[in-house]
C-alpha cells in the first residue's frame, strides 16, 4: 500500500485541473502580452483566471498579481513593503513560526539595517494580539503573520492582528498558503493589505502563486522585467499554470465543505488512535483553532528521521517537521517556539491528510507507526523496553 500523508508539503494536481491546463501548452501557446491573435487568446484565459481567483478571495482583478511561487509572493510582500516604506520607519514584525519564505526575507531585511521583531506563540502555536500591541510602534511599517501554520495547522486571529497593525499605520500581510484549501479565505473579512497563496497546496500545479495587493498599497518591485502584471512583476505569464490555479481554487471552494468533513474525520480517527495506542506521545497544536488536515506528534525517546524512513519503507509518506528543512539538522523552529523541549522536538512528525486519503489508509498508518515507534524505542538508550518506561540517562 502507498499512502501519501504529506499534503502540507504539496498536493497532487487534480486531473480536472490538468485537463484545463493542457490546451495552453501547445495549442494556445501565445504570449499573453503579445498584440496578435495568439496572444489575445491567451490574454483572455489569463484575464479569466484572474477574475475567477479574485472573486473567490473577494478582491478586484487588478489587485491580484501572479508570481512564480508562494515563496516569491512572501518575499515580494515583506521586502517590497519594508523597502518602499523605509522613510516612514525601519521596523517590521513577523511571528516566530512563519514559513521560511517570510522568516528569511525578514532576516535579509535585518542584515540590511531593518529592525525585526518576532512575535512569540503559546504552547498551541497561537500568536497573541496583546503581544503585538506591546511591540508595535509608529516606526512599524509592516506586520506579517501567516493565517495557518504549515507544521502544526494552528489558525491565527488575522482580523484582530490586522486591526492592531492598522491602528498604528502599519500594513498587514498574511501568508495564506496553507489556509487556501481549508478556509474560505476572503481579503475583506481578514482585513489584510497583502496576501500570499500557492496553487500546489490546493491541488493545483507547482510553480505558480499569487500576491493580493490592496489597491492603494505601494511596494517596491522584486522582479524587474517587462510590463507584465501591470509592470509590477516581470516575467512572461505562465498561462497554463495560472489557468490551473484558477481551476484548482474553483474546485477547492466548491468541494471545500465535503473535503473538510472527510479530512477532519480521518485526522480525528488518526489522532484518537495514536494518543490511545502509543505511549509517550505529545500532540503539537491547537484543538480548537486549526485546519482539518494536520496532525503533528512528538514521539519521545526516538528521532524523527528514523520514523520518517521506516514509514517510508512501509510505503507511507510523512514529514519530519517541515519538508523544506529536511536537509537541515536543526529541530523545528515552530515546535521550539511553542516550547516543545528540544530533545522531544527531535522526534516530531507531521501527518497531513488530503481529500483522496481513506480510513483504511489511516488504520494501516497507525499499525505501521506503532511498529516503527516500538522498533526505534527498542534501540533507544533513553527507553527501557522491559519496564516500558525511561532510563535515567
Amino acid at each position: 500500500m502507498k499512502v501519501y500523508l504529506d499534503h502540507a508539503a504539496t498536493t497532487p494536481c487534480d486531473k480536472r485541473v490538468v485537463e484545463a491546463m493542457l490546451p495552453y501548452f501547445s495549442d494556445e501557446f501565445g504570449n499573453a502580452d503579445s498584440q496578435h491573435f495568439f496572444g489575445r487568446d491567451t490574454a483572455k484565459a489569463v484575464a479569466d483566471a484572474r477574475e475567477t481567483i479574485s472573486q473567490l478571495i473577494g478582491c478586484k482583478p487588478n489587485e491580484l498579481y501572479f508570481t512564480g511561487s508562494g515563496t516569491e509572493a512572501d518575499n515580494w510582500a515583506v521586502k517590497g513593503v519594508a523597502l518602499h516604506r523605509k522613510d516612514k520607519g525601519n521596523h517590521i514584525i513577523i511571528s516566530a513560526i512563519e514559513h521560511h519564505a517570510v522568516l528569511t526575507a525578514a532576516d535579509w531585511l535585518e542584515n540590511n539595517g531593518f529592525v525585526v521583531t518576532r512575535l512569540p506563540v503559546d504552547s498551541t502555536g497561537l500568536v497573541s494580539v496583546s503581544d503585538l500591541e506591546k511591540v508595535i510602534d509608529d516606526q512599524t511599517t509592516l506586520v506579517s503573520v501567516m493565517y495557518v501554520n504549515n507544521e502544526v495547522g494552528t489558525i491565527q486571529p488575522i482580523k484582530q492582528l490586522a486591526d492592531v497593525a492598522h491602528r498604528y499605520g502599519a500594513l498587514f500581510h498574511s501568508d495564506c498558503v496553507q489556509a487556501m484549501p481549508y478556509l474560505d479565505v476572503n481579503v475583506g473579512q481578514l482585513g489584510v493589505d497583502l496576501l500570499s497563496m500557492s496553487a500546489h497546496k490546493f491541488y493545483g500545479p507547482k510553480g505558480v502563486g499569487a500576491l493580493y495587493i490592496r489597491n492603494g498599497v505601494k511596494l517596491d518591485k522584486l522582479i524587474c522585467g517587462g510590463g507584465q502584471e501591470r509592470s509590477q512583476r516581470g516575467g512572461t505569464t505562465n498561462t497554463p499554470a495560472v489557468v490551473g490555479m484558477a481551476k484548482a481554487l474553483e474546485l477547492s471552494r466548491g468541494e471545500m465543505d465535503k473535503n473538510n468533513a472527510h479530512i477532519a474525520a480521518l485526522r480525528d480517527h488518526f489522532v484518537d488512535r495514536v494518543l490511545k495506542e502509543i505511549p509517550y506521545v505529545r500532540f503539537n497544536g491547537n484543538y480548537e483553532h486549526r485546519i482539518p488536515s494536520v496532525a503533528n506528534f512528538s514521539f519521545e525517546f526516538v528521532e524523527g528521521e528514523g520514523i520518517l524512513m521506516l514509514m517510508d519503507f512501509n510505503g507511507i509518506a510523512v514529514s519530519s517537521g517541515s519538508a523544506c528543512s529536511s536537509g537541515s539538522l536543526d529541530p523545528s523552529h515552530v515546535l521550539l517556539a511553542m516550547g516543545v523541549p528540544i530533545e522531544i522536538s527531535h522526534g516530531s512528525i507531521r501527518f497531513s491528510f488530503g481529500k483522496d486519503n481513506t480510513m483504511e489508509e489511516v488504520d494501516y498508518t497507525v499499525e505501521k507507526l506503532k511498529d516503527t515507534i516500538s522498533k526505534l524505542r527498542e534501540m533507544s538508550p533513553l527507553f527501557n523496553v522491559k519496564t516500558g518506561g525511561t532510563y535515567n540517562v
Binding site: 525517546f301 526516538v302 528521532e303 528521521e305 528514523g306 524512513m309 521506516l310 519503507f313 536537509g327 539538522l329 529541530p331 528540544i342 530533545e343 527531535h346 527498542e378 534501540m379 533507544s380 538508550p381 533513553l382 540517562v393
Partner: protein, 134 residues
C-alpha cells in the same frame, strides 16, 4: 540521500540491545543534539567477544552504531581503540556530508567503553593488591 548499504544497516541493525553486567560500557552524546549512543562490551582476554548498542538518533547514527559493533567484535581492545569513524563510514560506503558527524559517536562510544573496561581492570588489580596486603 543515503546509499543502499546505509539503508540496509538502518533497516536491519545488528547487535541492538545491552549486555548484562558488561565488561565495558560507554554512553556519549546528548538528547539536545539529537543523538545518544550507548555501547556495552563483553571482553575476554582483551578480545571483544560481543558488543551491543542502543542509539537515539538519526538513520546515520543507527547505521554506524550497528556497523561499528559488527566491526569491533573479534578485535583486541588495542585494535578497537584504533577504529576511526572514517573506517566505519568507509565500511558503509559513505555518508552524506552533513551526516558524517553522526559516525563520530560510534568511535567515541567504543573508546569510552574500552576506557571503562580498563578502569575496571585496574580496580580489580587494586582490589587484588589490597587483599594481598590484608
Amino acid at each position: 540521500m543515503y546509499n543502499q548499504k546505509v539503508l540496509d544497516a538502518f533497516a536491519h541493525p545488528q547487535n541492538v540491545g545491552e549486555i548484562e553486567n558488561p565488561d565495558g560500557e560507554g554512553t556519549v552524546g546528548n538528547a539536545t543534539c539529537g543523538d545518544i549512543m550507548r555501547i556495552t562490551l563483553r571482553i575476554e582476554n582483551d578480545v571483544i567477544v560481543d558488543a551491543k548498542f542502543q542509539t537515539f538518533g538519526c538513520a546515520a547514527a543507527i547505521a554506524t552504531s550497528s556497523t561499528a559493533t559488527q566491526m569491533v567484535i573479534g578485535m583486541t581492545v588495542d585494535e578497537a581503540l584504533k577504529l576511526t569513524n572514517a573506517r566505519v563510514v568507509e565500511e558503509l560506503e559513505g555518508l552524506p556530508p552533513q551526516k558524517i558527524h553522526c559516525s563520530v559517536l560510534a568511535e567515541e562510544a567504543i573508546k569510552k567503553a574500552i576506557e571503562d573496561y580498563r578502569a575496571k581492570q585496574q580496580n580489580i588489580q587494586l582490589d587484588k593488591t589490597k587483599i594481598d596486603y590484608v
